[in-house]
């Protein structure tokens, strides 16, 4: 790793820790950084600690901060993979139908029981991905162009049904709308734990294919001629990244822009090769979502759906990057 790349990656890790502490500090009850560190310290070494601070930190803020980091990194990594597999800078983890599938599942869940929102969102997200995938798979190959088009078609179909349901049952509009725009308000340690386990299993497999992803960027024919089994690699990474994205979305709703913008920021800093991007795109995503969520929950008007904030932060950032690229 070159000196500069190492330095920036290291700074990114430090930034994440810093963001983590700041985010835990911010909230209706302000807790100073000193108090946070001393609660951690006292807890670990068995000293007496402030019970109130402990509850706020460990049961209210940390589960949510951790969820933001996890979901942000999942979206960042899945976005990177989507952009590579589709060979398209507009690639987004939701392109395979994840978001509209989840939206329909959630809409049905809201009609039946709030407890069904997450499981139904997950099941329908996977259903949408499955349909998209089976349409675009021919001769054991996944053609990027067909995958995008079938993803868009399936998304529109699922969105249409979801919109119709929401239109029929206006009484729960705010709940559904809040869910659709994404929010981490439901965070708890249980969710964090399962999402962490999923990431722990899936991330290493995705990272294993880093070298193939680099070559796949050159296009199917070249990748094959170099010896890459493109059909197999693409199927595995798309299915796994859709799976973990569906899981994240079913817990938090549809958080936009993180998956699109994180890989672009990473590329601007670290170049095209996945060897750095595969780690930095998720880190950037984690930071972006954590910052956005901290803003979302500390708004004076009460909580704002985090999807609104990510778009507010993400769009100008992307426009800035595009503007800089044009100047060079």
């Amino acid at each position: 790793m070159k000196g500069k790349t190492f330095f920036i990656s290291f700074s990114l890790v430090i930034l994440t820790i810093f963001d983590f502490l700041i985010s835990v500090a911010i909230g209706p009850v302000h807790i100073s950084l000193n108090s946070i560190i001393s609660v951690f310290y006292d807890k670990i070494f068995g000293f007496n600690y402030s019970w109130t601070y402990y509850v706020i930190i460990f049961y209210i803020r940390m589960p949510r901060v951790i969820l933001a980091l996890l979901v942000g990194s999942i979206l960042g990594l899945s976005g990177l993979i989507a952009q590579t597999i589709f060979r398209n800078p507009l690639g987004d983890p939701y392109l395979t139908g994840v978001s509209s599938g989840a939206a329909l599942g959630a809409a049905i869940g809201f009609l039946i029981s709030p407890f069904l929102v997450t499981p139904l969102a997950f099941s329908f997200a996977m259903l949408a991905v499955g349909i998209t995938f089976s349409i675009s798979r021919t001769d054991g190959e996944v053609k990027a162009e067909i995958l995008i088009l079938s993803g868009i078609s399936v998304s529109f179909l699922f969105s249409a049904v979801a919109s119709y349901l929401i239109y029929l049952k206006v009484y729960n509009l705010r709940g559904v709308l809040f869910w659709l725009l994404g929010g981490l308000y439901g965070a708890n340690w249980n969710e964090d734990f399962w999402l962490f386990i999923a990431a722990l299993i899936i991330f290493p497999i995705l990272i294993y294919f880093t070298r193939e992803l680099d070559i796949i960027l050159l296009g199917d024919e070249e990748a094959k001629s170099l010896g890459v089994n493109t059909g197999r690699v693409k199927s595995i990474v798309i299915i796994l990244s859709s799976l973990i994205t569906s899981l994240a979305v079913s817990l938090t709703g549809i958080i936009g822009f993180i998956g699109l913008v994180s890989p672009h920021i990473g590329r601007k800093i670290f170049g095209e090769s996945h060897r750095y991007l595969i780690f930095t795109a998720p880190l950037i995503g984690a930071n972006l979502l954590l910052i956005s969520d901290t803003i979302a929950r500390s708004s004076p008007q009460g909580e704002i759906p985090v999807g609104i904030i990510t778009s507010f932060i993400g769009s100008p950032l992307l426009i800035y990057l595009l503007y800089r690229r044009r100047k060079i």
Binding site: R211, D214, L217, E222, K224, S225, G227, N229
Partner: protein
């Protein structure tokens, strides 16, 4: 040896290749020529199993359909038609991808690619980004990558089109020197005069059929050239040139 038996390729209703039979032995060269749309690139791609075809292709007596991608990559490498790449890999990163079939962990293998970079005269460019170099330089990177892949054959799809005169001379001398070292070159070319530098069989394609297959000294060659391209062929100082019929 690559053996094509009754190869036909169809895109929808269009018959691109019909019943092609062909053999290329180790170390031999094959120069594929023909007008636009005659099926040259399609033929090249089907030889690597990159597109769907009817018929049989055998590599050393074994059906190509039973090969894995990396087995085919060991046998034949591919220099595609020049592309504009939006991707900012460095020359070194790009060329080292040729190692993939041998060494999945191809990153940081500078020693393995050094020779290829030197043969193709791009050693000094190794840290430049491939989207910031000229077409001729990119072509050399593609050839270097194929060299690193270390296959029996190198297939090339019009490696000299879109290049300026100096780059054409340089690339053709690189190709000639690879051939003299025993690499089999399978090349699609628009330029008849490439046969000055590259000995081998010449294949003339028209509308997906073989019109001519043989050496330059075959008495039918010039006549076939005239029929295939619908021009009058002249030869002066060993250089072919064309006028309207």
């Amino acid at each position: 040896m690559i053996k094509l038996k009754n190869i036909s390729v169809r895109y929808g209703k269009n018959q691109i290749l019909s019943n092609i039979n062909l053999e290329v032995k180790e170390g031999e060269n094959l120069i594929i020529m023909g007008p636009n749309g005659s099926g040259k690139t399609t033929l090249l791609k089907s030889m690597m199993g990159l597109i769907h075809f009817e018929g049989e292709i055998e590599i050393d007596g074994r059906n190509i359909r039973s090969f894995s991608r990396s087995e085919i990559a060991r046998y034949i490498s591919y220099v595609p038609q020049i592309f504009t790449t939006p991707f900012s890999f460095t020359v070194k990163e790009f060329v080292s991808m040729g190692l993939y079939r041998k060494k999945r962990d191809y990153w940081d293998e500078e020693n393995d690619i050094e020779e290829a970079l030197k043969i193709t005269n791009i050693y000094d460019l190794k840290d430049k980004y491939i989207n910031k170099i000229s077409g001729g330089e990119l072509q050399k990177c593609l050839i270097a990558r194929a060299l690193v892949q270390d296959s029996e054959f190198i297939s090339m799809d019009e490696p000299m089109s879109h290049l300026d005169v100096k780059a054409v001379l340089e690339i053709s001398s690189i190709i000639a020197s690879l051939s003299s070292k025993g690499k089999g070159i399978i090349i699609v070319s628009h330029d008849v005069n490439i046969i000055k530098n590259l000995n081998g069989n010449i294949l003339l394609l028209k509308n997906g059929n073989i019109s001519f297959l043989g050496k330059e000294d075959n008495p039918d060659f010039v006549r076939s050239l005239e029929t295939v391209f619908e021009v009058k062929v002249h030869k002066n100082n060993d250089i072919y040139y064309f006028t309207k019929l």
